[in-house]
Assembly symmetry: C2
Homo-oligomer: 732 residues x 2
C-alpha cells in the first residue's frame, strides 16, 4: 500500500457513497462545475483543458464510430475502441484461408492496415445552440401535430444546410425533450483502418454468457487509425491518404489505475430517460418492458427450437436471436433494476417535492400545469396501448414481414421530396437500405418465418375487438386460434415474392403503383399495416409535439429546484462522466471486487467457446505476474475493472482516462444490476466495465513480441530492458 | 471500527493467510499446543479450561445427537443444534391439524416440551487409549485378513464389555488407520425433548437451492433439552424425569462475533481422508468420485422423470432423490475441489519430501517400505474395481434389491453368535433394521424400481467378461442391452414378495433356510449377490488389515517429519477447530463477505418455496436494524457467517464459541468450494457456515415476544427496556 493506513481507510470511507457522481455531463457543463469540486474528485488538470468556451479541448479526442465511441491515443490518428465495434472490418477482410476474426490482426507497418468499408469516424466540429431558431419555426397557433412537424422540418433543413459542406455529418440534438436544441456539426472521416485486433477468443472471451455481468475477463478492445487526404481534410479511402493528426489525444498511462482511482469516461451515450415524469416511467416499467420481454422470449423460443434441428438454420438465425436475446435480457433487467433501485418510488417522491415547491411559487404555475397535462396524455395512450405496441414491434419478428414493410414504406417515401420523408428513408440512407435488404437474404428460414408470422397474426387476432386491425381481420377470415391461423401464414409465404432476393431488388426500384399491381399477398398486407403504422406515427408525432411543448416547462422547474447543474438525458452527443474505480454488492453476502486478472482468465478457461483463450495467452499467463504490466497489489496483470461511471449504450469504446487525461482503459459494458440506470442512477450498483490498458499492453507484448514494438512505441511504450536469458530453469 | 485504523489493517493482513489453522484437534491435543500460540490465535481462557489431562472441561459441553453435533447452552440441559438435526422430532409430532414442521414450535413451559422417540444425546464420558490391547489381540504370524478379524473382534469385545453398564454407548475409534485406538465410553441419554424450532421457512430457508453454498440466509437451528431420571442418571423418557445438569455449558454471547473474530467449532466430525497416501487419494479423485457422480446422476434422472409424472411418486421418491443428489453434488464437488486446491499435487510433493527425508534416516526404512506396499496394494485393486464399485453401490439404487439384500444378510448374520456378526447386523441394531424395513414401504415406486433394477443389471452385463457375476449372468440369459434386460427385471419384480410389507415382516423373522425355501426370485438373486458381497468384503477386510499394519508406520514418519502436533483424520470423535470469521474469493473478481443480514433474507424472498419467509418475519425485518441484536457495522441483524474452521459432515449442529468459550453461533454447512476439504485443507476456500446467535435471539423475540421470554432468560437474555409506545409515525 502506497498510502499510510489511516489515509487509505478514510479514502475508502469517502469512496463508499459520498462520491458517486450521477451525470453524463455535456462538455460545456464541465465549465459550469465548481473547479474546486472537480479537483477534489480527482481532476488534476484545469477544467479548461477538457473544454473551452470556444468548444475545443481534450474531450474532442473522444470520437464516434457508427454506434460506438472511440478515443484518439496518438498524434498519428491512432484510435482505441471496442473489439465489438471494429468487428465489421474484421469480418470484411476475413476469408476461410485468412480468418482474422479467429486469429486477430496486427498491422506491423501502416501499409498493412486494413481499410474498413462503411466505417466512419465522426468528430465533433462545432456545436451551436439553435433553440431559438427551432422554436421560431413553429407557427403561431399550431396544434401539437403541426408543432411536431414544424420542428422536424426545421431540423431537417438545418441538417441539410449543414451537410452541404463536404464530409460534414450533422444532427439537431434535442436536450431533455426540447429544453435546448443544439446543431452538432461533425466531420465525417470515411477512411478508417484496422491496426490491431486481438483474437476473438480474447476480444469476445466469455461471449454471451458473460455479457452484462461481472466478473469479466474479456479483452474487448481494438486499435484503428483514421486517415485524411494529403491536405489533412476528410477524404474517401485512398492510397495517397495520410494519418489524421488530431488536435488532442489521450496518451496511454502504462501505470493503469487502482481501486478508488478517479476516472473520466468520455463518449457518445445514446438514449436515457431520467427526465421522464413518473407517469412516463411507470408506463415503461409496468407495461413496456414486461411485455417486450414476454414477446421476444416467445420469438426466441421459436427460433432456438428451429436452430437445434439444423446447423444451417442456426447460422441463419444466430444474429436475429442474439439481437432479440439482448433486448429480452435488457427488458428483464430494466424491470428488476427499477424495482431494486426503487427508481419509481424515488421519482414519485422527487416529483412530489418539486410539485410542493412549485405550488408555493406563482412563476412555476406553468410547470405544474405541464406536468399534469403530460400525465393526462400518458393515461390517454393506454386505450390503444396493446395494438400500438404490436405494430411497433412486428418488424423485429418475421423477417419477410419486415422486408415487405420496408419495401412498402420505401415506395411511399421515395415518391416524396427528400425533406418531407421519414428520416430513415431519406435519400442519404438509400444505399444503407438497399444493403440491408440484400444482406437479410441469409437471415431467412422459411419454417421459422411461418411460425413467427403465425405468432404475430395470432397476437393481432387476440386484441380486444375495438383495437383490431381490419387488414389482418380480413386476412384471417375470423380465425382466432393459432391452429387455424397457421395455414393462412403458410399461404401468405408460399405466394409472396418478397423473400426472393432478385425479385426484392426489383421491388426496391419499383414505385408504389408497380408494387401494388403485383398483388403480392404479403406486400398487400404490408401496405395495409403501413397505413396503420402511419396513423400510429401521426398519433405519436402529435404526442411528441406535446412533449416538446410540455417537458421543457417542467424540466425548467426541476433544474430551478435543484439549484445546480443537472445533466441532460443522453441523446447521442458527446458527454463525460466523473467516476471512481469501485466494487459493488450485487446481493447480501457478496462483494464484487473491482479488478480481474490474467490469472482469472486462466481460471475461467474451459477450452470450450466462449472460454477458450488462445494457447499463446495461456502459455504466457504464468509469467504475467512477473511482467512489467503486473499490478503490485494484485500481483498479476489486471484485465477488466469496474467504476461507478454514468454510462449507457453508445458508450461502448469510450476512452477511460485518469485525472491527468491519460488513457487507463476502454469502456465496454455495464453490470447487469445497472441496466435500469437509464431511468435513474443507483450509486450502489451503477458500475461500468472497462478493459484495463495494461491488459492490452501485456497482451500485445506477450502475443506478438517484436512485431508489436512499433505500435507500442507509438503509444509511448519502449521495449523492456532485455532480461538475462535462460535465468529460470524449466520446471519438471 | 473499534480499533485504530492501522491496527485494523494489520489485523486484516495477519488474517489473510498466516492465520488459517488446519486441524480437527482431539481434546488432548489442545494441551499439546503452545498456550502462547493459542492465546495469540484468540483463546482468552487457559487451554486447561477446555480440557484437562483427566478428560474433562468445557469441550464436554459439545455432545452428539445421532449423526449430528450439539452443545449445551444452559445449566438446565438446554442444547442448541441444527434445525435439520431436530427435524425427526418435529416430524413425529406433526399432524395435518398441528403442522409443527411448517409453523415451528415453542415450548412456553418445560411441560410443553416434546419428547423425541429415537433421539439420543451421547455425551463423552471417558476416553481410554487401548492401542496396546488392540495390537496384542493380533496373533503372531497372522496374515492381513486374520489381522483385520482379530482387531475387529477385539473391538467388539471391548465395546460389549463397556456397554454392560446401562446407558453407556461405546466405540473403539481408530486414529489414522490404527496409529492409536481409543475406547470412547459415552453416556447415552434417551430423553431428549424439543424446546424450540423455527418455522421450516426459516430453518430450511433456501432449501436445496442454497445447500452447500454462500451467501446463506437460513436459521438452521433448534433448541432441545436433555432429561435424566430424578437421580440425575440416564433414564428412558418419563414424566418424573428432570432436566440434565451438564458439568459445563457454553453461555450465550449476545454480542455475537465480528469479521476477523476468533471462534472455536466443537463437535463430532465424521470421516476425512487426509492421511491417505497419494495412491489412495488418486483412486478417489480419478475413479471413485467421477464414477459415483455418473451413476447417481443416471438414477436421479430416472427418479425425477417419474416424479414429474405423478405427485404421489414425487413424495415417495423425494428423500431417495435428495440423498442421491446430495452425494452426486458432493462427488462433483470433490473432483472440482481436489483440482482447485491442487490437493493431489500437494500430496505428491509432500510425500516426495517425506520420502526423501526418510531415505536419509535408517530408522525410517520401515515407513518407506510401508508406503510402497500401500501403493502396490492400491494398484492391485484396480483389476476388479468396476465390479466392486457396482456391488458396493447397488443398494443405493433399486429399493427392492436393497430390501432383499438386507433380508438375505440379516438371515445369515442372525444365525451367528452376536460378536461374530457384521456390526450393522448385531443384536443391538435389530430394532433399527426392522424399523427401516418397515419405513421403506412408502419409498417404493414399482415402475421406477423396474427402471433402476434394469439399470443395475445392465451395468453388471456390461462388465468385462472376467469380472461378470455368475448369478446375474444366469438371470440375464445372455441379454446385454437394456431393451432385452428390462423384461427380466419386470419379471423379477412381478414375482417377488419382498415388496409386500406383511410378507417382508415375516421374512425378517425367518431363517435363511426358510427364506431360500420360498424360491422368491429376488431373494434368490440377493443371496447370490450377498455371496459376492461377502467375498468382496473378505478382500476389503484383508486390505484394511494391511492398512492397519502399514498406515501407522507411514503416518509415524509423517508426524516425525512435521515435528509438531498433526491432527488425526476425523473419525466421529470429539474435535475442536480453531478459526477466524473470514470471507473468501470463490473466483477472480468476487469476494464473499463473511456475514449476511435480515435485509438479505427479505432481498432473497420470492414468496415461493424455498424462499418464502414467514409473514411475521418479513413484517419484523424493517425494524431489525433498530433492534438490540443489530450489528453496529452491518446496521442490521446478522443471519449467517463464514469462518475458516476445519469441519466436515457430523459437524452439523456444532456449537461455535468465541475465545471466552461463549456461544456465538451454530455450525451447519460448508461452502461448495470447500467440499474437497476432506482430502486436504485449502486455506483460500476452507469456510464453514454458521447461524449467528443474534439471528436466533432476534427471531425468537420478534416472532414470539413474551412467549419466548422464559427461554431467553434461561440463556441469560433479559427483556429489553420497554420502548416509548407510538414514537414513530407510520409511513404513508
Amino acid at each position: 500500500m502506497k498510502l499510510p493506513a489511516i489515509a487509505f481507510t478514510l479514502g475508502l470511507l469517502a469512496a463508499s457513497g459520498a462520491f458517486a457522481v450521477e451525470g453524463k455531463w455535456t462538455p460545456e457543463q464541465v465549465l459550469e462545475h465548481d473547479p474546486q469540486w472537480l479537483r477534489k474528485l480527482g481532476l488534476e488538470i484545469p477544467p479548461q483543458k477538457l473544454w473551452t468556451k470556444d468548444g475545443a479541448g481534450l474531450l474532442e479526442a473522444a470520437v464516434r464510430i457508427d454506434g460506438c465511441s472511440a478515443g484518439f491515443i496518438s498524434a498519428q490518428g491512432l484510435m482505441i475502441t471496442n473489439h465489438h465495434c471494429a468487428f465489421s472490418i474484421l469480418q470484411q477482410h476475413s476469408t476461410p484461408e485468412r480468418d482474422l476474426i479467429t486469429h486477430g490482426f496486427l498491422a506491423r507497418t501502416p501499409a498493412e492496415e486494413l481499410p474498413g468499408s462503411g466505417v466512419r469516424a465522426t468528430l465533433p466540429h462545432r456545436l451551436t445552440d439553435v433553440t431559438r431558431e427551432v422554436e421560431a419555426a413553429v407557427p403561431a397557433g399550431a396544434d401539437d401535430l403541426a408543432r411536431f412537424r414544424a420542428i422536424e422540418r426545421k431540423q431537417k433543413e438545418m441538417v441539410a444546410e449543414c451537410e452541404k459542406a463536404e464530409h460534414h455529418r450533422c444532427q439537431v440534438a434535442a436536450f431533455d425533450g426540447g429544453l435546448r436544441y443544439v446543431l452538432v456539426d461533425s466531420l465525417e472521416l470515411p477512411d478508417v483502418r484496422l491496426v490491431y485486433a486481438p483474437p476473438r477468443a480474447v476480444g469476445d472471451y466469455g461471449g454471451e454468457i458473460d455479457n452484462w455481468s461481472w466478473p469479466r475477463h474479456v479483452g474487448d478492445f481494438a486499435l484503428l487509425r483514421v486517415y485524411t487526404g494529403p491536405d489533412g481534410k476528410p477524404a474517401p479511402k485512398g492510397d495517397a491518404n495520410v494519418p489524421y493528426r488530431p488536435r488532442h489525444f489521450f496518451p496511454v498511462a502504462p501505470r493503469g489505475i487502482e481501486p478508488d482511482g478517479f476516472v473520466m469516461v468520455a463518449g457518445y451515450p445514446g438514449l436515457t430517460f431520467r427526465s421522464y415524469t413518473e407517469a412516463e416511467m411507470r408506463e415503461r416499467a409496468e407495461l413496456f418492458y414486461p411485455r417486450r420481454a414476454e414477446l421476444y422470449r416467445a420469438w426466441i423460443d421459436l427460433m432456438e427450437a428451429a436452430s437445434k434441428r439444423d446447423d444451417a438454420v442456426r447460422i441463419a438465425l444466430a444474429d436475429r436471436i442474439k439481437g432479440l436475446a439482448n433486448n429480452e435480457k435488457n427488458s428483464r433487467g430494466q424491470v428488476a433494476g427499477i424495482r431494486r433501485g426503487k427508481i419509481l418510488e424515488k421519482k414519485t417522491a422527487s416529483e412530489k417535492e418539486i410539485l410542493a415547491w412549485a405550488a408555493k411559487r406563482p412563476e412555476q404555475k406553468e410547470a405544474v400545469a405541464a406536468h399534469d397535462e403530460l400525465a393526462r396524455l400518458i393515461a390517454e395512450r393506454r386505450a390503444t396501448w396493446d395494438r400500438d405496441f404490436l405494430l411497433n414491434q412486428m418488424k423485429s419478428g418475421p423477417k419477410p414481414l419486415d422486408l415487405a414493410l420496408t419495401l412498402a414504406r420505401w415506395a411511399g417515401e421515395k415518391a416524396k421530396p427528400d425533406l418531407e420523408r421519414d428520416p430513415d428513408y431519406q435519400e442519404r440512407n438509400r444505399e444503407r437500405l438497399a444493403e440491408r435488404l440484400e444482406r437479410d437474404q441469409k437471415r431467412l428460414d422459411p419454417p421459422t418465418e411461418a411460425a413467427l408470422l403465425t405468432d404475430v397474426l395470432a397476437r393481432f387476432a387476440a386484441l380486444p375487438e375495438a383495437s383490431r386491425v381490419p387488414a389482418v381481420e380480413s386476412l384471417l377470415g375470423g380465425a382466432r386460434d393459432r391452429a387455424a391461423i397457421r395455414p393462412r401464414a403458410d399461404d401468405l409465404l408460399a405466394h409472396t415474392k418478397v423473400t426472393d432476393l432478385a425479385e426484392r431488388k426489383r421491388m426496391f426500384e419499383e414505385s408504389e403503383a408497380q408494387l401494388r399491381a403485383r398483388h403480392d399477398p404479403l406486400l398487400d398486407l404490408a401496405f395495409a399495416l403501413d397505413r396503420e403504422l402511419r396513423a400510429l406515427k401521426e398519433r405519436e408525432d402529435r404526442f411528441l409535439g406535446a412533449v416538446s411543448r410540455l417537458r421543457p416547462r417542467w424540466q425548467r422547474a426541476v433544474i430551478a429546484h435543484a439549484g445546480k447543474p443537472v445533466a441532460p438525458d443522453a441523446n447521442g452527443t458527446l458527454r463525460v462522466s466523473f467516476a471512481r474505480v469501485r466494487g459493488y454488492a450485487p446481493r447480501d453476502g457478496v462483494w464484487m471486487t473491482p479488478q480481474t486478472t490474467v490469472g482469472g482468465v486462466v481460471e475461467k478457461n474451459t477450452g470450450e467457446e466462449p472460454f477458450a483463450a488462445p494457447a499463446e495467452l495461456l502459455a504466457a499467463a504464468p509469467k504475467a505476474p512477473a511482467s512489467r504490466w503486473a499490478d503490485p497489489k494484485l500481483k498479476d496483470v489486471p484485465v477488466d475493472f469496474l467504476a461507478d461511471a454514468d454510462t449507457t449504450g453508445g458508450n461502448s469504446g469510450s476512452p477511460v482516462v485518469n485525472g491527468r487525461g491519460e488513457l487507463v482503459g476502454v469502456n465496454f459494458d455495464r453490470v447487469w444490476e445497472n441496466v435500469a440506470n437509464d431511468f435513474g442512477y443507483n450509486p450502489d450498483v451503477a458500475r461500468n466495465i472497462s478493459v484495463d490498458v495494461r491488459y492490452m499492453l501485456w497482451l500485445m507484448e506477450a502475443l506478438h513480441g517484436k512485431a508489436a514494438e512499433p505500435l507500442l512505441r507509438e503509444m509511448g511504450i519502449t521495449p523492456p530492458k532485455p532480461a538475462s536469458a535462460g535465468a529460470s530453469s524449466p520446471e519438471r
